[in-house]
Symmetry: C2
Subunit: 455 residues, 2 copies
């Protein structure tokens, strides 16, 4: 690149897919999601250089608020030196999350934090493209010391020190090359959520669950939490469809209180759920710990809505979870997820990333491969969520074969959408939404009638 290349513009796109039309993605708390991206592009001023792409994932309404947050953060990037920026992404992450005035709006949670994560991830996409390698390889080639510098250590001193983290990464260094080869050859285990959306009827659930097993998945997940009789019937049918050896996870999407969660899981216990995901509020560390004590040996999983490393730290300290479910686009990007991977490794809890939505599979696979190569060093009880929606919009879509993610090969973070998708699905005035809003009875994103049904 030219020595003085700069980030010239930060483009923000409000992109929404009308997934609620077919109840894809429906669960006990989210009956009608329209998978959306508050999408950001870091445009360089050198035509020979790539751009950095990232996004926050939302489910429709409010995507415009995330876009506003991206525009508010843009001045941190506009005019920045490209080489200096990608050379110190720890510094960038800290600047974006520690702007004192913007921090007041969280701190480190909600819309502003998701927007910071989108920009940090876009910068990582740019860094990996400039390096000519997929992100998981870029991270896997960093020294323990460089990795530790990427983390914001504030608020972690009672759980993990930079020195401990360095030791932990050093201990995993000897096997890195072999695990890169293993990852490239055999991929990373995936699990299938496609069969289990709450809006699907029983026949669809059993048909898709059986198909998932034929496709090589060893874990399928079902949404639960709206009606206990329905859930017992659905989970029993799924168990019959997949046989005794395939794992079935269930996911309540935060629907329950603690006592309610325990009672509900007693009813589902005969069908041997592998984990219960999001039994209650993602903020409720003590609640998760109480549920976990009560429902063992069923595991407790959470993380897709956990706001930041401080909350993950406590879930681990309190022995509240058996499974840590990082999300690529909720916390402050790669950097904060690195902190969570290190915490999980210290406490010996497997990380099984959340994915689905739009583009979450594309991103989080990189973090899983990196975790295997350089942090945890193992695939045991590790599995990444897979949902077969909306991958066609990405230049480098996630690929799952035989129940395993194939290791990404192209440079970058797999975050880049086709330019035409950004145009077609632009909200509210792209051609897809213009057409839908002219058709009677089709959701246009402003309809609130079904939106607040979960309380």
């Amino acid at each position: 690149m030219t020595a003085d290349a700069r980030i010239e513009r930060v483009d923000v796109h409000d992109v929404r897919f009308p997934t609620s039309l077919h109840r894809h993605g429906s669960d006990a708390m989210n009956p009608d999601p329209d998978y959306s991206a508050a999408y950001v592009v870091l445009r360089t001023d050198d035509p020979d250089l790539p751009d950095g792409h990232g996004f926050a994932f939302t489910i429709g309404r409010g995507n415009e608020v995330c876009c506003a947050a991206l525009r508010t953060l843009a001045p941190y990037l506009v005019g920045a030196d490209v080489a200096a920026t990608v050379a110190d992404l720890g510094e960038l992450a800290r600047r974006l999350t520690h702007d004192s005035q913007l921090r007041w709006l969280g701190p480190e949670k909600g819309v502003m934090h998701m927007a910071a994560g989108a920009i940090i991830n876009a910068a990582w996409d740019l860094a990996a493209k400039l390096a000519g390698v997929p992100l998981w390889r870029l991270l896997s080639d960093l020294s323990p010391e460089r990795l530790v510098e990427l983390v914001d250590w504030r608020y972690l001193d009672d759980a993990l020190s930079p020195g401990e983290a360095t030791d932990l990464l050093r201990a995993a260094e000897p096997g890195r090359a072999a695990r890169v080869a293993t990852a490239a050859a055999h991929g990373y285990p995936a699990y299938a959520t496609t069969p289990g959306w709450l809006g699907y009827d029983d026949a669809t659930v059993t048909r898709l669950a059986a198909q998932a097993v034929r496709d090589g998945f060893r874990l399928v997940k079902l949404k639960v939490g709206a009606n206990i009789e329905d859930d017992v019937r659905r989970v029993r049918a799924a168990r019959a469809a997949v046989g005794p050896d395939v794992r079935i996870a269930v996911d309540a999407n935060q629907r329950w209180g603690v006592r309610e969660a325990v009672a509900w899981m007693e009813a589902l216990a005969p069908y041997r759920p592998w984990w219960i995901e999001e039994p209650t509020s993602p903020d409720d560390v003590l609640g998760h710990a109480a549920v976990r004590r009560a429902v063992a040996p069923v595991r407790v999983a959470t993380g897709e809505h956990v706001a930041n490393r401080v909350m993950f730290k406590q879930l681990l300290q309190a022995e509240a979870v058996d499974v840590v479910q990082i999300d690529a686009a909720r916390v402050a990007g790669v950097n904060e997820n690195l902190a969570v991977l290190l915490l999980a490794a210290k406490y010996g809890v497997p990380v099984c990333p959340h994915a689905g939505g739009v583009g979450l599979c594309e991103m989080v696979q990189h973090l899983a491969f990196f975790d295997f190569v350089a942090v945890s060093g193992t695939l045991e009880d590790r599995v990444v969520e897979y949902v077969d929606h909306l991958h066609e919009h990405f230049l480098d879509p996630a690929v799952v074969r035989g129940g395993r993610y194939l290791a990404p090969q192209l440079p970058g973070f797999s975050t880049e959408m086709h330019a035409q998708s950004l145009v077609d699905y632009r909200y509210p005035d792209g051609p897809v939404w213009t057409r839908l809003s002219s058709e009677k009875g089709v959701p246009d994103g402003s309809d609130r009638s079904g939106g607040a049904g979960a309380y």
Copy 2:
């Protein structure tokens, strides 16, 4: 009112005050706040009816993101029947916080939650104005059953049931009338933060602390956390200035990790701090519990940045705090603060509200008076923060005399700003900001140079 009056419009105002010019409000995490309001008005279509006013408090940059969130929530109010809305504000609060698509952006935290709180509080202002009474009186006249209906009970079942809450409120019913009279006659104890901003030099701190004592305050608060030697010197000087019997609270504004907090408080212990406020991340329940065990008998206080009732619940369950500091404008308004008051009463922990900023004193005094009348029933170790900034912008400003808040008398929630203030301080194009941005070297809200200095 006319039987069919409706909310015709939801007006949103981005209002900012250039408080950073004089380092008012400076602390270890927030060196240069510009106190701001993402201000919302629920306009009725009947000219004989009042409007409802509310706002989220921010410290400058990002206020526009809160305004975007207010506009996103506005469709829930536009066209709503006024009488039906104010008759069931529990329902309104649940609809605003449980919109499934918007909930994804929290859940129940950050920008969307603050915006929901602003609108809920505006609706309470409207309700109290329609009833012709100050909000604290409106709440104090509701039956235990009606109060319990206002709370969103989701996620509380392991700590407090609606039945327990009803019992608790019934137990406080007999003394209500006497406490209304006491409150009206004697007010509510206040404490003074004005002396202790981190940007003030030692002479200013001691002069203002001594003045606060002469003005009748029995507790003053000092900001700490940037430099330990400076803090020891400042707290020692303040102790000398106020004498042995006036309480001195210290406030680290989330600057420390757990171990750091404990070490720092050891250094300050000789000057007998009454409480340490925000020693670490507001998300760190277990961290606060650890700090509390280590620094006793110094009390631990937090709450102004605690996102929601689930976090307050855990702070109480974990015995992590001695003082619960509700904020009127961070959680989902009056309704969620009512949940927190009930939780604090159950666990026997005093509530000492956070105030200051712009308009926080005006709002939170109503909740304190209500807590005294109908929930806790006591003033023991209760005290509401007071800062003497920006009250002149309100139609019904908070008044403190002899170290005590006087009970508000006018109908409403004291949230309404003068129309001229909304015009003068409109950002970025109101006359005050237009003038400031034309002067060299004056912050215009886009300068990031000092913003991220705290990490």
